[in-house]
Symmetry: C2
Subunit: 182 residues, 2 copies
DNA sequence: AGCCATTCAGTTGTGCACAACTTAATTGTG
DNA sequence: CACAATTAAGTTGTGCACAACTGAATGGCT
């Protein structure tokens, strides 16, 4: 089956029966309504993430990169050579994800991996010449994506700020354990 | 390696060198800066999606559901029995994703699948009693997630609206082909 | 009726995310 | 120094996302 999205106005993205428009606390809303709302916010984030991913997929195909590989390359273009550990911190990815991904980038001739001499546990990831050169082509990517979103720079920054705030809150909650009952 | 996120203020989530604070058009910004910005918005969305996912993972574990399975159940609780096709439209997922997922839900005893009598191509997905009963437990989920985000209802709705707008724009761009050069 | 295009679900193969685990190197402490 | 704890990277297994494909059922068209 191929992707035949129904328009966003039907299906998932329609509005809630907006009973509670005021900046109400969550406690004013019934568990039933919250389940509806949850469906909607879940879907929105999930769908946005996948839509983004899918636009990038198209653009990145001509660079021979997947979206996560592009993220790795972006970090390398910015920071140059660095250990897998650091890469994982920047990208919030663990070695279980990065190891095979880096292996594929290495097979593609874009990066090189070498055990660090000082600390034999650490593996440093370098750009090859081909990997460094790929940046030229990548320079055209963001403008095309931005054009696809139709957002201006201010909106993009604003959205980013909100998402970061969300991520921070969620990470904090995850660390101290999600409330069991509330 | 386990997830040891660096705080968002270091690492990925720091601000841009905000040269262009005005609601500037994208054309005013250099390709170099856009690549930086791209790194940031990519990361933000990717990270938010994964942070969200990971909080849900914790909460949903006690229901025995993964996040995508929860999304499917949300649709079923709302709409009752419906064909795989519709499910895919609501969730924007194709059969390649849904078929195995539904098979797992069926194995877990939460849904039943039956070929439609009128149209033998179609498979209708039903809730089992266990699947319907699970909704009781699920009612507590959204409040706990919302608490974890620290967002109030207004903010959640606002973010959702922005994400939906983004998704719409991205889908539209994807349909008519992403701009090749711009 | 006969045939072709379409539709629906499913399968296969690739890649990512993550938990749980392994192995090897390093660090800290008695 | 010895040895336990920690750290870095990698491996394994599960599940999701998606492209490309298969196969069966359906609908339209002549």
């Amino acid at each position: 089956m191929t992707k035949t999205p129904i328009s966003a106005s039907e299906g998932v993205l329609q509005g809630l029966p907006d009973e509670a428009k005021a900046p109400a606390g969550l406690s004013d809303v019934s568990a039933e309504d919250l389940l509806l709302l949850d469906r909607q916010i879940c879907f929105s984030l999930h769908a946005a993430s996948r839509a983004f991913n899918s636009v990038y997929r198209v653009v990145l195909k001509e660079l021979g990169l997947t979206y996560p590989q592009y993220l790795v390359m972006l970090v390398l273009w910015e920071h140059g050579e660095l250990p897998v550990k650091r890469l994982g911190e920047y990208l919030r990815l663990d070695s279980g994800t990065l190891s095979p991904l880096l292996k594929r980038l290495e097979a593609a001739g874009l990066v090189r991996r070498e055990r660090s001499a000082e600390d034999e546990r650490s593996v440093r990831v370098h750009l090859t010449d081909a990997g460094a050169d790929l940046r030229e082509q990548a320079l055209t990517v963001p403008r095309r994506i931005a054009a696809a979103t139709g957002f201006d720079l201010g909106e993009i920054r604003d959205l980013r700020a909100r998402l970061d705030r969300l991520t921070l809150a969620l990470d904090a909650a995850a660390l101290e354990g999600v409330p069991v009952c509330e």
